[in-house]
């Protein structure tokens, strides 16, 4: 009886521990993109995975990084153990605890600390900063696994080797090393594993154009459902699982060793050396290449057809380091602190204004961008709202903010923002998780300017948002798209560009710009003052303004393009004349561009927005 209970308990624990992973693995073999639906077994996510150059690149980086940091950490950690072992007891135990503390420290603290340190000493974040951070957090694991072995070192054996004529170095390598080798090996494997699956510290210390598997998975998953990422995560899990099994495996006690065993040992040694060499080689070839120039691009997530990068690299011989951000504010923090160096960035209107005011931008030399005339003059005119002399920005995408709704769930006509306050749709409403977009909704509903600095108006809008909070299912950014495609919500605030894509995926969705008005936004390319590759950056913009390239991007991201030449190339008449993609002037006249409100204005909005966040949702 007792035994049965014990077994049930164990099974429950196991389920509890492994169920989430099980679901992930299951999903990675599911032919359907939708989680709850089983469409049959497939390996296509895995094959797609290995065709994706960006992912393979991050795989190379990950292996390279893990190998190198594990090697360095193992060497340093082992030396530290040998030195500590010579010390007297008290200082030894003190140092041991000091080295162990970083292991228990919250990773986010360690990551943040590293970032501060690197930025503080003026190191720009790059592969080497990540490497340093990884080596540092791996060393305690090496010490932890090597130290017990070092303490057990049999000095008699070492002396016997000297006695038989061995030099100190030879005796160490031949006698002491094999003794502590199991510890060194498990230290190495542990470090390798830790480096392999680290996300937080890497996230904080990585530079531009640098992705490991974990940061890649993170950025990809943020953008929406990606079964390839399930496959990748499954592979990562399996790798880590196997590595940890290896670490914990106790070698069987050998009483006799045949010639055969010796050969096996050699094969194992050669194999591991081969793996190391391949790992390092991978990293090196992944890092270098035969490019003459390079350009660091910082763009919104899913805001470019990846094929365009390949074409650009092939044509110009310029290596593109491509990075993505999720909000203007995130981008601004990174760029303004100089944590990472970028050349060309694609912010939104008000952010461009802020960057101009803070002297972060370089004037664009339009003479070098022959294709800039493909952008319609009306967009340059609108851009004057934030770039008065059209000196800094080349418009890239534009659109409106509106309501996406599901016709099967909403039966009344949607013409006003008011519907987002309708109790009927409690828990079926998705709001944008960004200050300006949230206030755009509330201020528009109230009939105020979306750039208001009037505290009374803001107070009113804030109250409105707090009142709305219990009705809102979630405040999200990119996930509005996926949730609405999956019929997981009835109404969502969204950018017009997403609407076309969503309608393609789900016929029941419809987009409106409410009658009270809304925001019209423009995202455009700007070149940073700090840029060291201005020429390459200009070439990048020139390339993106070509009609056929702009068309590729339009097809891929479905956001309205300001490129008139590209629009003329759109074959599908319905889309070429779509009022979602290219709203007519009656709609645009109701809409306002965001302005930069100054840092005081930003603070004001932020403080109100914080109040919304802190408010009780019930």
């Amino acid at each position: 009886m007792k035994n049965v209970a014990k077994k049930i308990y164990l099974v429950l624990i196991m389920l509890f521990l492994y169920l989430p992973i099980g679901v992930l693995i299951f999903a990675s073999f599911n032919d359907s993109k939708i989680l709850g639906k089983w469409n049959g077994f497939t390996l296509k996510w895995y094959t797609q995975l290995f065709e994706n150059e960006a992912i393979l690149n991050s795989l190379r980086t990950t292996i390279f990084l893990a190998t190198l940091s594990a090697i360095i950490a193992t060497v340093l950690g082992t030396l530290a153990c040998l030195t500590m072992n010579r010390m007297r007891k008290v200082p030894k135990s003190i140092i041991m605890s000091i080295t162990n503390i970083p292991m228990l420290n919250a990773e986010i603290v360690t990551g943040l600390a590293f970032m501060l340190l690197f930025v503080g000493v003026g190191m720009s974040l790059s592969l080497s900063t990540v490497l340093i951070a990884h080596v540092t957090f791996c060393i305690p694991y090496v010490v932890l696994s090597v130290m017990p072995k070092v303490q057990q070192i049999d000095n008699n054996m070492y002396e016997a080797a000297l006695d038989l004529g061995a030099s100190k170095a030879y005796a160490f390598v031949k006698i002491t090393m094999p003794d502590i080798m199991p510890g060194i090996l498990s230290g190495f494997l542990l470090s390798f594993t830790m480096s392999l699956d680290d996300f937080i510290i890497t996230h904080f210390t990585r530079g531009s154009g640098f992705d490991t598997l974990s940061t890649k998975i993170y950025t990809e998953v943020r953008k929406g459902i990606k079964p390839e990422m399930y496959a990748l995560s499954t592979l990562l899990f399996v790798t880590v699982f196997v590595l940890l099994l290896l670490v914990n495996k106790k070698p069987a006690k050998v009483t006799e060793r045949s010639k055969h065993a010796k050969i096996k040992k050699y094969i194992a040694a050669i194999a591991s050396i081969a793996i190391l060499v391949v790992g390092i080689g991978f990293g090196v070839t992944g890092g270098a290449g035969n490019y003459t120039q390079e350009v660091y691009v910082y763009n919104w997530g899913e805001y470019l057809d990846p094929e365009v990068i390949t074409m650009f690299e092939k044509e110009t011989g310029i290596k593109v380091h491509y990075e993505e951000f999720e909000t203007n504010e995130e981008m601004y923090t990174i760029v303004a602190t100089g944590a990472r160096n970028y050349d060309v960035v694609c912010p939104s209107d008000y952010m461009i204004q802020k960057m101009i005011e803070n002297d972060l931008l370089e004037e664009v030399d339009f003479d070098n961008i022959s294709t800039s005339d493909n952008i319609g003059q009306q967009y340059y005119d609108r851009a004057k709202g934030f770039d008065p002399e059209n000196k800094y920005c080349v418009p890239y995408c534009w659109g409106t903010v509106g309501i996406m709704y599901n016709k099967t769930m909403v039966d009344e006509p949607v013409t006003s923002w008011d519907i987002l306050w309708n109790e009927k749709y409690k828990d079926s409403i998705l709001m944008q998780n960004s200050v300006r977009d949230a206030y755009c909704v509330a201020l528009s509903k109230l009939g105020y300017s979306i750039n208001t600095l009037n505290e009374n108006e803001l107070e009113e809008a804030t109250q409105l948002l707090i009142d709305q909070k219990p009705l809102v299912q979630a405040y999200v950014v990119d996930q509005v798209r996926d949730k609405m495609i999956k019929n997981a919500a009835a109404l969502g605030v969204i950018y017009s560009g997403e609407a076309i894509y969503m309608q393609r995926e789900n016929d029941d969705l419809e987009y409106v710009v409410p009658d009270e008005g809304s925001n019209v936004w423009i995202d455009g390319w700007v070149i940073l003052k700090e840029s060291e590759n201005k020429e390459a950056a200009e070439k990048w913009i020139e390339f993106l303004c070509r009609p056929e390239i702009a068309l590729m991007n339009f097809d891929y991201i479905t956001y309205s393009t300001p490129n008139d030449a590209a629009r003329a190339l759109i074959e599908d008449e319905e889309i070429r004349n779509s009022i979602i993609a290219f709203p007519d002037n009656t709609i645009l006249e109701r809409c306002e561009v965001y302005n930069y409100l100054g840092s005081e204005g930003d603070d004001l909005y932020d403080s109100y927005w914080t109040r919304v966040g802190a408010a009780d949702s019930e």
């Binding site: 008699n156 000297l162 038989l164 003794d179 009483t255 060793r257």
Partner: protein
């Protein structure tokens, strides 16, 4: 045996922390000599060997090897090999790899090494153990491999630290015989450590008796056994009757109030001394035919002989004899003058373990 000094320890002192382990030790070893350090546990035997081997350096004094000062020479540069008290086999290697270790460093050919391994394993009676892992062997087997590993290098001097301690009696006697044969064959000088006095007596050319870091006596096994220079040596080398006595004059000693004839001279007149009489030298006779009278108080059978205690003149005499005399029997005690060994009496307790000048 050559009379040249091969190894010479001159005024060696060594302490660990505040503990003085060796105090002004002087000792030399001749070429091809079998010299044994004998003494109780903790007396400094291993320490002495470690100094010779180069694993410790002395606080004062120097070590001369073949006329050269090697005090500062590291172990791997010294032409000697050690069989360690704790075996110190390389646990992650096979037996063959253990034995080949020194030879590989000397860059011997593979066939030479293979031959040596075979030869050495045969010698220590462990043929066929080549591929066993060192830590899968029993203590005794490991000890023999340790010997094999040292011997294949054909060193000038072999240091052996209780190399037979873990073996049973039979195997130990076999190995004693093998070691002596080996020494003769290879012409190696042996410095041997044991606390087994019988082993020391059987194997050595020279025995060094040590106690608490001081050399008590150096001599041939016969000297040490028959003419111990002090009570410690006498006691340590087999059981003895050590009886306080007075030297009346040359060749006459008074033991327990009775005058005995002896052969020692030069102690002066009426001087207090110790008389040493080996148990096997005490002869039991008819009560009236002995020098003094006594009564058997205990009896133990010891295999080759009986061991008895006889109470006579207030002293419990230890007696060994092949003849059984039952407890309670009145007996007379007789001793051949040659078998009475007279020793100076130490003037104080401290002096019991002092360095004796040679």
């Amino acid at each position: 045996m050559n009379n040249d000094k091969l190894i010479d320890l001159v005024n060696i002192s060594k302490s660990y922390g505040k503990n003085l382990i060796l105090d002004d030790l002087n000792l030399y070893v001749r070429e091809n000599e079998f010299i044994t350090l004998l003494g109780p546990s903790g007396c400094g035997k291993t320490t002495t060997l470690r100094l010779i081997g180069g694993f410790e350096s002395p606080d004062t004094g120097k070590i001369i090897f073949d006329g050269k000062d090697i005090t500062e020479l590291p172990p791997n540069k010294r032409q000697l090999n050690t069989v360690f008290q704790k075996y110190a086999l390389f646990t992650h290697m096979t037996i063959a790899e253990n034995i080949a270790f020194g030879l590989k460093i000397k860059k011997k050919s593979k066939s030479y090494i293979d031959d040596k391994i075979k030869y050495a394993l045969k010698l220590v009676n462990l043929d066929g153990y080549e591929n066993r892992m060192a830590d899968s062997l029993s203590g005794g087997q490991q000890q023999r491999i340790a010997i094999a590993r040292a011997i294949v290098n054909e060193p000038k001097v072999l240091l052996l630290d209780e190399p037979l301690g873990a073996l049973d009696l039979k195997l130990r006697q076999d190995m004693q015989y093998e070691l002596i044969r080996l020494k003769e064959e290879l012409g190696i000088t042996f410095i041997y450590v044991t606390h087994d006095q019988e082993e020391a007596l059987t194997m050595s050319d020279t025995i060094v008796v040590m106690n608490q870091g001081y050399i008590q006596q150096i001599g041939t096994p016969e000297d040490i056994y028959n003419e111990p220079e002090n009570a410690f040596v006498a006691d340590f080398i087999g059981d003895s009757n050590i009886i306080p006595a007075t030297m009346i004059e040359d060749k006459v000693v008074e033991i327990l109030g009775t005058k005995f004839k002896c052969v020692d001279e030069g102690f002066g007149k009426n001087k207090p001394v110790d008389a040493v009489i080996r148990p096997e030298d005490v002869i039991l006779v008819e009560p009236d035919k002995g020098i003094i009278k006594g009564k058997v108080t205990s009896l133990i059978f010891k295999g080759v002989h009986y061991e008895m205690e006889v109470m006579a003149n207030g002293y419990e005499w230890l007696v060994q004899s092949t003849k059984l005399v039952p407890v309670g029997t009145e007996v007379g005690i007789d001793v051949d003058p040659f078998n009475i060994q007279i020793m100076h009496k130490p003037e104080s307790e401290d002096e019991e373990a002092v360095a004796l000048d040679e």
